[in-house]
Structures are given as C-alpha cells and as structure tokens.
Subunit: 337 residues, 2 copies
Amino acid sequence: MSLSTLSATYLPAIEAELQHQVNRLNEPIYAPFYEMLTYHMGWSGEGAGPEASGKRIRPLLVLLACAASGGEWQGAMPAAAAIELIHNFSLVHDDIQDNSDKRRGRPTVWKIWGMPIGINAGDALFVIAQQALFDLHRHHPAETVLQAARVFHQACLDLTKGQYLDLSYENRTDLQESDYWAMVAGKTAALISACAQIGALLGGSSPDLQEAYRDFGHYLGLAFQVQDDILGIWGNEALTGKSAASDLLEGKKSLPVLYGLRRGGAFAKRWLEGPIRPDEVAALAEELAREGARLRAQEAADQMTDLALQSLRRAEPQGEAGEALFELTGKLLGRQS
Amino acid sequence: MSLSTLSATYLPAIEAELQHQVNRLNEPIYAPFYEMLTYHMGWSGEGAGPEASGKRIRPLLVLLACAASGGEWQGAMPAAAAIELIHNFSLVHDDIQDNSDKRRGRPTVWKIWGMPIGINAGDALFVIAQQALFDLHRHHPAETVLQAARVFHQACLDLTKGQYLDLSYENRTDLQESDYWAMVAGKTAALISACAQIGALLGGSSPDLQEAYRDFGHYLGLAFQVQDDILGIWGNEALTGKSAASDLLEGKKSLPVLYGLRRGGAFAKRWLEGPIRPDEVAALAEELAREGARLRAQEAADQMTDLALQSLRRAEPQGEAGEALFELTGKLLGRQS
C-alpha cells in the first residue's frame, strides 16, 4: 500500500512541476509552439488526460529513491521533472525516426505539425529539461547540482548511443544477444538508472549506496524492456492484432526475435523472407513460443529482476518509500517481489 | 593586428578542446556514430579541413570577452566549446528541417546517413555541449558554473524559439519587420549574445559590464544576420547563381524581401506568384534594389552595428583582447569600426 499512498501525493506534484517547467514557453507569440509541448505531455488537445500523459514512472522513481535515502522528496522534484522531460524529448524524436503516427493512442507531434517543427519541439523539451535540472539549486548546494548534472548528462549521452545502435540494427541480420543488451542499456536502462542514482544522491545516500541505487535502476530498466518485448509479441493487444501493436509487424529486433533468429527454425526462415503481414502475426508468435523464445526471454527478465532486487536490497532503502520501491519493481515487472 | 595575433593562439586551442569533447563518443562499437560528428565538425571524411569547419567565430568571441574582462582565456575554453557545439547541433537539425543537401560545400550529415540517424547525431552534439559546459568546473567555482549554465540554457531555448518562428513563417505573407527581428533575435543573436555574456562572466566582469557585453553580442548578432541577408541576395555567389546560394531561390523571408513585400511593387508581385527560377534571380535582385530594399537593409545593418559598438564601449573591454573585439566586429560587419 505504500506505493499507492505515496503516488497519490507525488503524482499531482510531479504534474504541477512539469507544467511549471514547460510554462517557460508560455508566451503569446509562441502559443502554437507551447501547445505542441502541452499536447505531447498529455495536457491539451483531443484525448488529453492521464492516458495521454504516460505513467510518470521515472519521476516517481526519483522521488522514491530520494525519500528512501532519508531526503525530502520535494527537493528532488526539479530532477524528477528533468528526467521525465528528457524521456519525452526522446519520444518526440523517436516517433519521427520510426515514422510512427500514434503515441499513447493519439497522433504524434510530427504527424500533426510536420517533421521540421516536430524536431524543434523535441529540441525544446531537451532544453527545458536542462533548465528544470538546474532548479535543483533552489534546494541544494551548487556542488550537489553539478554532481546530479554529471549523472544526468551521461544518461542523456547513453540514450543517444542506444538510439544509434537501435537505428543501426535495422538492416542487420547478424545480431547477437550482446548487441541487444548494449542497445537497451542505453535506450531504456540509462535513464531509469539515472533516476535511482540522482534520487539517492539528492536524498543524501553515501556513494556506495548511490551506486547500489544506480545498479538497481540499470537492472530494473533491462528487466522492464525484456518484459515489454514479451508483451509486444504475446501480450493481448499484440495477439489480437487490433492495431500495429505487434512488434512482429513492426519488424522490431526484440530479444525473443533474436532468440528465434539464432535458433534458425521456421520462425527465422519466415522472418528473413521480409515484412510480416497482420494475418500471420498470431501463428508466427505461436511458432516463436514453440521454439522456446518466450521461455528464454522470460528467464532473462527474471534474471534481471533478481539482479534489480538484489541491488535494491543493497541500497538499504528506508521507510515507506523503501517499501514502495520494492512494490513498484514488482508492479513494473509483473510479479510480486 | 590584435585579432590575428590572438586568433593564432586561440583557434588551435579551440579545435583541440572541441575534439577532446567529441571524443566522449570515441569507442569502437560507436565508431560510425563518432565519425558522423567528426565529419560534421570538419575533421574527417572527404573535404575535411578548415573550410569544412566554419570560422569558429562564437568560441573566439567567448575567449576574447573573457580576456578583455581581465580573465584567463583558458578558463573559458569549456564554455567556448559548448557554444560552438550547440551551434553545430542546430546546423545538423537545420539541414534536416530545411531539406538542405549541402553544408559548407559538403553533403550534409542526414544526406549521407539518413534522416533518423541525422536527428540523433544532432541530439548527441547537444548532449556533449552540455557536458563541455560543466567542464568549466575545472577552473571555476560551482556557483559560477551554474550562472554560466543559466545564460547558456536561456540562449538554447531562445534558439528553438527563433527556429519555431522561422519555420512558422514559411507559409505566411503578412510578415512585418517586427516578426523578422523576433526571429533573428532567437535564431542568430541569442547564441552570440550568450558568447559575450558568458565570456565576461568568466572573466570576472561586474554584472553591469556583463550586461553591456550581452547587449553587444545581441546587436552584433542582429547586424551580422542582416549583413548575411544582404549578401544572400546581392553577394557575388548569389548573383552569379552558380549554386542555390541565392536566398531568392530558396524563398527565404529575409529582411530585404520583407521590405520588398511591404513595398508591394514589381518584386512583391513576382514573389507572390510562386518560387523564383534561377534565370530570374539576377533581374529580380536588381528590381528589389531599385525598390530601395538594399539601401534600407544596409541602413538597418549600420544601425545595429552602431548599437553593437556603443554596447561594446560601455563594456570597457581591456587590452589586446579588447582591441580584437572591435576588430572582430568590424571584420564581421564588413566595415572598419
């Protein structure tokens, strides 16, 4: 219950801080520009609301790690907002790079306003994320802000490295499991790891414990991505084929697909022949499971989850927020810890 | 002569610092990613060399403002690199947004590696710029670094605002002169202004003098842009029509064009009929000059130059670097100060 109690306090405060930060662009002559950002954040336009905003997992993690380290969560709020803004910057650019029309059920920014303006909207979110981070100085000494910035910027660079790998994998058929882990370490785990580490830093954890938090976030990110890969093929939405929700349709080189390709069976044969059609999705997902890819991916997710939980225990999280971190991990990874 | 003496010292050091910063990506598995950045910066690939690097005016300005404020230029080097990297980030994204094939005579990054990877290369330059800035902590107290970061981030945000205006003007025929100034204040002047202000801050100028430096950079940027607009229509390359160098061909809403449109004469009539053909460029440029647009633009450039020089005098720049700032202004604006 700790998680739902704390979320009820944190989430509205996170939303308020994010709005406060994006408000930097709220000037009459930039009204349409400001609107793109509020639209993407889920606050304006058709379909606005919690569904369109995403779950704000990352900022929640920052605040929980801070509180579980004995700090005041309010003092970590600018960092929480900064990381959520970076996450959203990367989504805006991702959608352009992947030519995606929809995000959280609504048309993507570039689809509405065009590619050039979409790139610029992402850039603006990036800048505002930087500005948000430096508002930490309201609560923390300059030295601490610079320490947080160092972790933050390294995570941002790792994000672009992961994105580079992801894009460069598109036309490769020789990918190994290690290529996958390098990519998701940057694309998914780097930011989640930074959430935990920065929260711990701001909460006053010792360097050793900060490192444990960092490892926790890293493995949590990896486990989360593998879980997402599994749902992307065998989740309800993917199987019913209602939309282009299946990773098989999109040709995504997820972990189960890499297993299938290495196995070199019927799945691999079909995959290498070219794009998968919607009417093939269900049978192909079944074939891939039959070849053992689902089980192996689940084992990998479980292994990463165990490493995440071990790291979290090593981080010695305190009090209600500490319990909430274990709860959140269990919830994200679809099992009780 | 101060400018050439100091440039001879500063420019190689700037190049070394930029390389040091971009080196953050120099790892075997990211080799092609690293190569995109070194290519764009002018250090690798076909046509590499000073011509491909650009003039490094912005970092030069940071170092000169620092030295002219009585500081050690070496201590401002991370900020100089950071601003040049931001400038280059914006060029990489600009080229995608404007669908430009060439930059400094070579194919653009996105043209070689594709649009998705091009966006990501720009994002990486943005991150590395942030990291470069925080290396200021090698020489300056954390509080000073945060002050510099505040100016830096505001300039980055202004850059995206200017870019938004520029992109949004594309299909507008009702633009006023004030729309133009708002756009170039963000797109060109914000970063140049930040160069001068941050240099002065790091050099130890008082807040009043920092403000004078900021104003100097602002007007220098505006004057520089108007001068560029004039050359884009009546410069040698534009008139000979050897390439798509003419702003008239590109349909750019530069200051002389806005004057012509407001005048509502033969130029405006032709402009509103649709894209200009290469064979019309010379005659149309002549018509626009005949209608007084060249003269009026030159007057605007001169006025901004005067304001820049007034601000620079108010900034009380010292010694050889101070002289070099006046020289640089004269050189950039094509007249002796």
